[in-house]
Symmetry: C2
């Protein structure tokens, strides 16, 4: 990935006035979070409606701001892929508005009772979802994240503090102005969604310390260098995945047709997503029948294969894989391939080289499948389905703020439910503890 | 609380051999966690049975070790309360064994499917509980925590790395030997429950950094100074509460009898527990009838009251509360008392001075009660019940490793369920992503 390192590099001193401004951002976020936590679903939905309308109404302003960002980025010599992510057009602005409406249509998680029980003394205990509080989102120069992340936080009753890539500052500001208008129209505090008002990179460092306890969780959205930096420096919890080194294991009891379909989709549907397969493992007992067809299929569609000796023996076009290859996230039309001794060695390989993101087994053998699903310690494990289903939308969450591979709180796609915590409500009739 | 600061103070250099030993502890913990995650409920229960039996069989050794610890602590001039927590006798050793059996009898959380649904394309998605991994427990000189924490981690499939107070090292070692014997007997790795083998305080610092990613969460068990230090320095998630500044609000619609029962229990049942009430708030509209009886009741049982002007006016024996008093956790027979303007000011006071631990309202007015339960942002909120129910056992969790006031992952009593995370298992029939 092409994380523009400069957006978070450096831990220089922030000007005192800016440090003060950041402190106020945190303080105001906390106050807004309290209002949002108690806001009705209707009021939040009204704000989201107005935000979408304001994005459409202010389309010209947003595009003009984006044109300035693009001009400066181009002058600065930034690359094609970078410019593509930064650039907006009418269709993309419309997609931003629609995205807000998709979030609006989700079920409001706040107040949902997830468990309830009655104690022998007659007290009832309920576990109920409440917002996390204030969420800091640090992202690269993708202006649409401003609206996506802001909308998801609002729907889940959280205040958002957004820090976008410095190259997209004008675009983000223009989109943020539309979000602010929506909040105002619905009578919600504008501090519900705040944009860090500086390109100064030291502001990111301050966010990672939690702004005096006023940020509850950080979500980095971007490439590996951004995520690595955030994970290394954050003093508050982080929802993120560093990489998705995802595997497809083709078992001896796999249908070749199904294996071809799933491997092709898992690797090649989109090579740049975190759920794309990076390693193909094939059971030695199936190698005679399945190995060659799978390799040929991949090479025919332009995928480079780096393999072990057994795989190289099956096709001369397979390159030799190095030790590093097995744990590399290519995010490209490249895959490593290895012949393994059954499900045991497949699991062992995945535990050793994988990133605990998403891994799949293809087999008609239910016992092997259940073993794989049980023993592979990844956020998402699949049987007879493509790893590219690693996505909040595909899970039915409607939208996601990212995918997490951490073990605490959120794991897998992080949707609005995962942006909440809970509290216990106890109703009694005078009970005291003996 | 009387946390013996010396057990974690100082961040001196650890001898290279000890740093290596700590690294191995982490590595071995991770390997053991993998075995535990896949161990059957029966095997874990067998280990817990054998552990309880070994504690009983090795009672004489445990008591002898404890006598040495006590002798040294006494010679070092340690206080009565400290010695009481450190001291074991036959009954306390039996309670340790019984405690392990209580944990054994809990429902095994690992493998429980907490949610499942089917996607329009026919894939089924399950959310299933899996262990967190490796849990580091840092505690004071209470030898019983060695067994309690070890048993809870084992039941939930987690490896434990235990670091007890240095004054209880011999006692903890003797108890740990019994736990190891139980693990061996059941064929589980002894590294499932490891005891840090040094009194060197720098070992704690290493644990707080996560031992190269080999500790997933830290649980501090002890007084405020221990918890504060752990929260400030830990680079891994922490399950803890710093303090429990718990409130009881007596509304105008409260039954005086019930209010008396609940206030008395909440403050005086045990004053040293985190769920003990530290502040009494009384609705101005109920002051004429409720204030004096409540204050007299408390003073009659030996509770000191520090109040605002209105409370002082009701009884001359009420002392003047200072600004700091309102946010002080006394853990003693002292309470602050204030007259407030109804549920609104009560909520405002609790949000301003409370610690988001446990707060209660006493009222017959359902609307006021529901508003309080909704708006007070604490891990546990109660209507017409004592704050002293803030306890895993009272929740029906069977046992708890502590109470958390953090917002992520675990909140309120942390039982075996909260010592797990989850993964998604997806079963398909060849689905690929369009």
């Amino acid at each position: 990935m092409t994380a523009p390192l400069k957006s978070i590099e450096g831990a220089g001193e922030l000007a005192p006035s800016m440090a003060k401004a950041m402190g106020e951002l945190g303080h105001n976020g906390r106050l807004a979070a309290r209002v949002l936590a108690l806001a009705s679903p209707a009021q939040k939905d009204q704000a989201l409606d107005r935000m979408a309308a304001a994005v459409r109404a202010q389309k010209a302003l947003i595009l003009a701001a984006n044109a300035e960002d693009i001009g400066e980025a181009r002058a600065g010599g930034l690359s094609g892929a970078f410019l593509d992510r930064l650039a907006l057009d009418e269709a993309r602005v419309e997609a931003i508005a629609t995205g807000i409406e998709v979030v609006r249509a989700l079920k409001d998680p706040v107040g949902t009772v997830t468990e309830s029980w009655t104690r022998p003394n007659g007290m009832t205990i309920e576990r109920v979802r409440v917002p996390l509080g204030v969420i800091g989102i640090i992202y690269e120069s993708r202006p649409n994240v401003t609206a996506d992340a802001g909308a998801l936080c609002l729907k889940s009753g959280n205040a958002a503090i957004l820090r976008g890539g410095s190259d997209s500052m004008r675009s983000s500001r223009a989109i943020h102005a539309a979000l602010s208008a929506g909040l105002r129209d619905a009578g919600l505090p504008e501090a519900a969604i705040q944009l860090v008002p500086t390109r100064d990179r030291a502001a990111v460092g301050l966010m990672l310390t939690g702004l005096d306890g006023n940020i509850d969780v950080i979500v980095p959205r971007g490439g590996k260098s951004l995520v690595a930096r955030v994970q290394a420096e954050a003093r508050v919890p982080v929802f993120a995945h560093l990489e998705g080194v995802c595997h497809v294991y083709v078992d001896k009891a796999a249908s070749l047709d199904m294996a071809k379909k799933i491997v092709l989709n898992a690797k090649m549907r989109r090579t740049g997503v975190c759920g794309a397969a990076e390693t193909l493992l094939i059971d030695r007992s199936a190698a005679a029948t399945h190995l060659k067809p799978l390799i040929e299929m991949l090479i025919d569609v332009g995928c480079e294969i780096r393999g072990d000796k057994a795989t190289q023996a099956a096709d001369k076009r397979v390159k030799q894989a190095s030790e590093e290859d097995w744990s590399t996230e290519y995010l490209d039309a490249i895959i490593t391939a290895k012949v393994v001794d059954g499900v045991s060695e497949a699991i062992e390989h995945i535990e050793r080289y994988g990133s605990h993101h998403t891994d799949a087994i293809v087999t008609e053998d239910k016992v092997a499948a259940e073993r794989f699903l049980r023993e592979v310690d990844s956020a998402i494990v699949l049987h007879n389905a493509s790893t590219q289903f690693a996505d909040g939308g595909e899970f039915g969450f409607g939208a996601e703020i990212g995918i997490a591979t951490g073990r605490l709180h959120a794991r897998g796609p992080v949707g609005v439910d995962q942006l909440t915590t809970f509290k216990y409500r106890i109703r009694g009739s005078g009970q005291t503890r003996p």
